[in-house]
Symmetry: C2
Subunit: 319 residues, 2 copies
């Protein structure tokens, strides 16, 4: 029987041709995030892109769900994926986009550009004094996957010392100066000028950064989060920022999300918030990176080869 | 007769020792920008630091004025410096500080962080859509001195193509891909994703960037100014930003300065303004860079050697 492929990721013609080339015996439906419906999802054997989880509802036909996201938590709940379905993520596609965003956010905080923007909005020509240098920083990255390595490479161009933290110790990746495990986090925090969390949403990563961790950081430290909001205890972070336990925070993700209008975090001056926008498809190249991963994984699946970025349902990470 | 040296630059002990070592036969007075007075200035043979121009008033005793600034315009007027006084600038000391500031400003604009900051101040979790990449930009730098080269080196780490403009054509400096003269400016503008002016305040550089130049730029171009405000026609820039002739502007300097409270530039959303703060001593290392230049120039002067960074009164540039 011909397999049915459904894609909701907006692919360029180049990637459509590639997909059609490797899936000649399949029926391909090009849909979109807006137009996709439950029927289309229920019929598909292979889906490319983050369709709403409720549309899947344990579909027995679904063999492979290739997400367009790096995060997988929306599909890890009960009654979503059939046990036979293989889930693969697009981890890697966002390294450039998210890495660049966090790098820009860090530099902006180091140069107090958020403070100067507030001043500008009051037509206020005030000098805000000393700034931090981009060079020679000790950077602690909790979760050195693709995004962390992209960020690390940029920081390396500015003579940073990169301390990486991974779940499992392994070979130290290029661009990382020392590699540690999560158990050592508290001992490493006092050394860092910049702490970047790229931890995903898993039972093991909830509230990793709380009161104790912020107390251990330098008063001049900048804390950043580009992973999942709930790796951080938001109330503890607010308190640390207000008390001056840390210098500032650059948050691309928050907990809860979206951040409610009345949340006090919005108004903490040394918190810089962007609303979980660094990934998505806001950097045009990202779409091609995703299509690249998806087409290759579909090709491998159809040929019975081993897939890339297969998600482990136990941990929520890629295997 | 023992020469009198007056310094208003706050030097570290290391540099005080160095100065005392090379000026054993001189009387050294350490003062400050706040405490210096006309009498001290009038008595000095050598001054280190930007004392108020009116205090100099053609002093016949002043042999060498070593500025702590890169800009020299405040001392180029009539009735300030005696014809015999040698004026030297601290060009070079600000390359790191100003280069880093402009780099951070550019990245912040590319990632719309100024727009997200405005949103944050309204507790608004809105997605602002596409952003620009840090990589692969064509960068036009008008005035490739020390600051321009510092900026160029950072951009090169992000695969930029650097087009430099200098007054006089010479050897193409490392980090610059092609070097041109000011006459070619209008032909080069349509190629650039980023245009950075680091032009000083001289008769030849006033209003170099006006209506015509902004029209020639890409609609996606980001214009930046880290030189002197009056290299730009501010009204023309405001019009270009409002009309969307260019994407945004990052302005570390303005004309006039300080920008009056009622000036419309403050409220133009795609203008990002910082109040001429990137130089100064806001990056702690800058003070050492200045002291380094100053002590070396005083040493050379006392030994009858050729000085560095001597300012040409005809052009306002270093010779």
């Amino acid at each position: 029987m011909r397999k049915k492929i459904l894609t909701v990721v907006p692919m360029s013609d180049t990637y459509k041709e590639k997909l059609e080339g490797i899936a000649k015996d399949c029926d391909i439906t090009y849909s979109s995030y807006e137009d996709v419906n439950r029927e289309m999802v229920q019929e598909a054997n292979i889906i490319i892109g983050n369709v709403p989880a409720w549309m899947i509802g344990m579909s027995g036909r679904l063999e492979l769900l290739q997400l367009n996201s790096s995060g997988t938590d929306a599909y890890m709940g009960v009654n979503i994926l059939n046990r036979k379905t293989i889930l693969t993520s697009a981890t890697g596609a966002y390294g450039k986009a998210v890495g660049e965003h966090m790098f820009a956010m860090l530099l902006s905080i180091q140069k107090k550009l958020h403070v100067y923007r507030d001043n500008q909005n009051r037509c206020d020509w005030s000098d805000e004094g000393q700034v931090l240098s981009l060079t020679g920083n000790k950077v602690l990255i909790a979760g050195v996957g693709n995004i962390g390595l992209s960020f690390a490479r940029m920081m390396k161009a500015f003579d940073s010392h990169i301390i990486g933290i991974k779940r499992r110790i392994g070979e130290c990746p290029e661009g990382v100066d020392e590699l540690h495990t999560m158990e050592e986090l508290d001992d490493l925090l006092p050394k860092a000028d910049v702490v970047l969390s790229i931890l995903p949403n898993t039972p093991a990563t909830r509230n990793v950064f709380g009161r104790q961790q912020f107390k251990k950081m330098k008063k001049s430290a900048i804390f950043m989060n580009a992973g999942r909001g709930n790796a951080v205890n938001t109330e503890d972070l607010c308190n640390a920022l207000i008390a001056g336990d840390i210098y500032a925070a650059g948050l691309e993700v928050t907990d809860p999300e979206p951040l409610p209008q009345e949340h006090r975090l919005w108004n903490i001056k040394n918190a810089v918030i962007t609303p979980h926008v660094s990934g998505d498809f806001h950097l045009p190249q990202t779409l091609d990176f995703i299509a690249d991963i998806a087409v290759e994984n579909v090709r491998r699946y159809l040929n019975g080869e081993e897939l890339c970025h297969v998600v482990d349902f136990q941990t929520g990470y890629c295997k």
